[in-house]
Symmetry: C2
Subunit: 339 residues, 2 copies
């Protein structure tokens, strides 16, 4: 370190701390006030500094750094009315291109194309096509008889999915009205965590509070609880961090993706049986299997986000476009050679 | 430091850095990507770490820490349609209680009450009342003949105000469309700064960009420029930080509060001629002068914010209420003694 950089780091520490003229940390508006600045003679008083031992708690820092994570930043966008407005908007544009209530029963190769068998209103039907974009989660895909190549079958069969769950409640917005919490998360060291405060309809009377959003409930004590037990556990977490408010929680909802038909899991966790298998198996599933293109967030590096699913579809369309174009060029070239 | 705390600080540094297994910082998703994670084979690549010398630049840290400041946090609320919806809403409720276009010409004590002279539509008028809440900025108040006590006059005469200005432009939202900037500020080391990206109507085609919001233009080279010179300076700042976009800026507006009638400054900067005078003078102006109660953000510790003005009004109302109540109790007590 140069002399200049040494001076600059001391100056930085003074700013960043911030430190007082005696180079001591005595609190900061950045850490908040115990008495906020007000009118007349109400002078702001800084909150008491947190002692070093507490500051060094790893749980504390995991929570503090969470919102700096690339895909967890505070300024995010949401659809007015809920993010499922996106699929509904697609559905409105696509019209009867979409077949509803049509579970796929067989996925077959047929000549150079595909043959897909499904049932609808008790009747077996099928579609024949040149290509297929398959966005089924691997959890469901592995339950459908198919003609995939052995290497693709291997990934589909060996992949494992996370068993995330959420518990949500309706309540008076006590977090806003009593504690000035507007959006964001609280992290608990034990039990249902995090607590997720609603980011929409701020200042309205009631809202939906998520109390428990864990990535894997399978094999945990929570996972084996009854529904009522899960609700009691979630309510207890709120009571622990917001004493006296557990009783304000009403109309609970539990969503465990492992129980959701056709999802059977929340997002891909591993692509292979071992850590060594993971990368080659991922490379297989992002490669088309003849006429089949696999899409969905599990064929992206943005797992669990719509963004990954959308980008994987763009990529597959580009791949197919290139293939059709080069086939066209080859046919044209053949015709030219014959001519 | 205990052994445990030493271990914890090393663990913290690993998390916070974050450091790799060789305890080296090689980038982080928290610092962003040069290539974002994508579909298929598009693996995320971290941005190149910023070198220590650059990181230690004080200008850099001032900008970085800005949003942690107590009253500059990212999650702020704004009125739909603009913050002037607040005074308009008050005006709608108050109706003809408000006298418009009525500049105050004299502020007098009259017996135990007040006598306020003003003009309206060319006619001199006056109001007599028991009390007066005076929210005029001290800049304007000092220009009005008055009967204030010598100590209150002293504060009003000696106070100085900041000469903040803003320059704003209308433009295509190139910051959103080309650079994914949604709200927030960019700080420039030189010239008009900060650049303030609009926090409302995100994703719309055009928006208003503030390019230059300094606290004091009086006595600066910028302050003595012509209007066209100021706009050129502001445009040059945008061009410096967003090359090629200076030419997209249209319809500029400059607001310098020192030029705004009845404001004549942006917010109070000092209450007295010397640093020693500042505190006693503040204590004087937050104390009623007989029937006069001074309100406005200059009688609070939240200078320049509406919050300070509102709280100062609440405080004055409470003070008056206490005074009237205790006067009532005193009269009642007198009557009881006489009875």
């Amino acid at each position: 370190m140069t002399k200049e950089d040494r001076d600059r780091i001391l100056s930085f520490l003074g700013n960043y701390g911030p430190l007082d003229s005696a180079k001591k940390y005595v609190g900061s508006d950045r850490a908040g006030y115990s008495i906020t600045p007000g009118a007349g003679d109400q002078v702001g008083v800084f909150s008491k500094p947190v002692d070093l031992h507490t500051l060094l708690d790893e749980n504390f820092w995991a929570g503090m750094l969470f919102e700096e994570t690339f895909d967890m930043q505070a300024t995010m966008f949401q659809c007015r009315g809920g993010n499922d407005k996106i699929p509904y908007a697609f559905a409105a544009k696509l019209g009867d291109v979409i077949q509803y209530n049509a579970p796929v029963k067989e996925i077959r190769k047929a000549g150079r194309g595909v043959h897909i068998v499904y049932t609808q209103a008790g009747t077996q039907k099928s579609i024949d096509a040149d290509f297929c974009f398959c966005n089924m989660p691997l959890t469901t895909l592995k339950t459908v008889p198919n003609d995939f190549s052995p290497s693709h079958k291997k990934v589909i069969d060996e992949s494992t999915y996370a068993s995330a769950y959420k518990v949500a409640w309706e309540a008076r917005r006590f977090w806003e009205q009593d504690y000035n919490l507007y959006g964001g998360l609280s992290f608990l060291a034990q039990g249902c965590s995090p607590i997720w405060y609603p980011s929409a309809k701020l200042f309205s009377e009631r809202g939906v509070l998520v109390a428990g959003y864990q990535y894997n409930e399978l094999g945990t004590p929570f996972g084996s609880m009854t529904l009522d037990g899960k609700f009691a556990e979630s309510r207890a977490a709120i009571e622990r961090i917001h004493p006296g408010h557990g009783k304000e929680l009403e109309k609970p909802v539990y969503i465990g993706w492992i129980h959701a038909p056709y999802a059977l899991g929340s997002w891909v966790r591993t692509y292979g049986k071992t850590a060594e298998d993971n990368k080659p198996n991922y490379e297989t599933i992002i490669t088309p299997d003849g006429p089949f293109y696999f899409i969905g967030c599990h064929t992206s590096h943005i797992v669990a986000w719509m963004e990954g699913a959308a980008l994987s579809a763009h990529r597959a369309i580009a791949q197919l476009n290139d293939k059709v174009k080069s086939a066209g060029l080859a046919r044209q070239s053949n015709r030219m050679q014959r001519a």
